[in-house]
């Protein structure tokens, strides 16, 4: 337990975090590329097409759509957790993490909406439907963009971090409320009912799980890269950054 706490505190040090993530990054990228290659092979070639619903090859969109949608929600929760850590323990690196997750999460949300739209056209015959899940995904995108806009409009970074953190927490309380409200609103309006799919055929499961793993890793890799850039940006004046950037020691007394 004591060890875990020490590790937690060490993560709060920009230098330690930068070095550690630098060690992890090649491994994460390696695993991402391998899983992505295998996953794409399975999902684009080695998996059957869906004939029952007349979807044919369009079912392959699912292998990108489902992971993106899952990540869009998990990323927001991760943001809120990091924001809480930042506000409670006054940990600056947690704020850097919130800022790094936001654009990647927004991109995942957009990807989920976009692939959903492209998939919806051939299967439901429409690009957009005010279905509960789609509508709340759209609102989630607005929440991400709101955070990014709020963070960008402060000149003082520490104020931007704290204000953004409060917004992330308020947002995460609201996500279930938004989802349930939209769901009820939609049933009231007799909207389009998406057929509840039963258990997925194992033939579809393998590529889906592979792609889920690949996209999670890709997400982690992208967030870590942003986080490292964010650490450098925030510690420009630190000596270790100068040393890292110039590749040489700037110890005084050398001259």
């Amino acid at each position: 337990m004591a060890n875990a706490w020490r590790w937690f505190h060490q993560l709060g040090s920009p230098k330690y975090l930068f070095q550690k993530t630098g060690q992890w990054l090649p491994w994460i990228w390696g695993a991402t590329l391998i899983l992505l290659a295998v996953g794409l092979y399975y999902s684009l070639w080695a998996s059957p097409i869906e004939v029952r619903q007349g979807q044919g090859h369009t079912v392959r969109i699912m292998y990108v759509h489902v992971p993106a949608a899952a990540l869009s929600m998990i990323a927001y929760i991760a943001m809120a957790i990091a924001a809480t850590v930042g506000l409670v323990w006054k940990m600056k690196m947690a704020f850097a993490a919130v800022r790094s997750i936001a654009p990647v999460g927004a991109a995942m949300t957009f990807l989920a909406l976009f692939t959903g739209s492209v998939w919806g056209k051939p299967t439901w015959g429409t690009w957009w439907e005010w279905d509960a899940r789609m509508t709340s995904e759209l609102l989630l995108l607005f929440l991400y963009l709101g955070y990014i806009a709020l963070h960008a409009s402060f000149s003082d970074r520490s104020k931007a971090d704290k204000a953004g953190a409060i917004l992330a927490i308020v947002g995460v309380i609201n996500i279930p409320i938004i989802y349930l409200s939209v769901k009820w609103w939609n049933t009231l309006h007799q909207g389009y009912s998406v057929t509840e799919e039963g258990a997925l055929d194992p033939a579809f499961q393998t590529p889906l799980f592979l792609m889920l793993g690949a996209m999670y890793l890709l997400f982690a890799a992208l967030v870590i890269m942003r986080l490292r850039a964010e650490i450098i940006l925030r510690n420009q004046k630190a000596r270790w950054v100068t040393e890292w950037a110039t590749g040489q020691s700037t110890e005084r007394g050398d001259a």
Partner: protein
């Protein structure tokens, strides 16, 4: 303490009453645009009425937020207020003042808009108007509470104006849904107490969390 702060808010607002009247005027004018744009026929207007009135009320609430916070922040009195008392009670007094001076007038004006939008078309009494007022009574305080969080967060931000709308409108969606659907249910002669109960539940949740969050945000903006 909160009472003293509230008195101060009301006194400041009384000296700037024209600023308070503008959002109300906006509320009426926006609603009166719809008959021109869509159709002056009573059944059509009646069908649109709940949504249009609620959206206009929501925008009017957003517009009026600014004046309760901005000038206090700019002339430094917010900083003094925060030194004097807890951030949460400053937030509560501002939220209360905002509701009393914008939310309540909106509720009082809403029967007028109900007439403009032919909400009682085809029914003998004026029961739909009462339902509209009830939904606004329960819904507008929640709009004030959430708006206070957004406004407090953006006070120190350089670009403001529309920023607070972007932050807060997604959070307003559930209130809009149930506010408008309360009235729609009444128009369709269905029971609407479920919707009202949910509006009340939103209000209670917001009362618990929003003043605290808004107080924290005010402190960050000033400190």
């Amino acid at each position: 303490m909160i009472l003293t702060l509230l008195k101060r808010e009301l006194k400041v607002a009384r000296r700037n009453w024209i600023g308070l009247a503008i959002p109300l005027l906006f509320f009426i004018i926006v609603v009166s645009l719809f008959p021109f744009a869509v159709s002056p026929e009573a059944p059509v207007l009646q069908k649109l009425a709940p949504g249009v009135i609620w959206v206009a009320a929501l925008l009017a609430m957003l517009l009026s937020l600014e004046q309760f916070y901005r000038s206090d922040y700019q002339d430094g009195s917010l900083e003094q207020l925060l030194l004097m008392s807890s951030p949460t009670s400053v937030a509560i007094s501002k939220i209360l003042a905002h509701w009393l001076l914008t939310g309540l007038p909106l509720v009082i004006l809403s029967p007028l808009l109900a007439v403009l939008m032919q909400i009682n078309y085809g029914s003998a009494g004026s029961s739909h108007t009462w339902v509209l007022m009830l939904s606004l009574v329960l819904g507008t305080p929640t709009l004030c509470l959430l708006g206070a969080v957004g406004m407090s967060l953006t006070l120190a931000a350089s670009r403001n104006g529309l920023l607070v709308s972007i932050l807060i409108i997604p959070l307003y969606v559930p209130i809009l849904i149930f506010g408008a659907s309360t009235v729609t249910a009444s128009l369709e002669n269905m029971r609407y107490n479920g919707e009202l109960a949910i509006l009340g539940a939103f209000l209670l949740i917001a009362i618990v969390f929003a003043p605290f969050a808004s107080g924290r945000a005010l402190k960050i903006s000033v400190g």
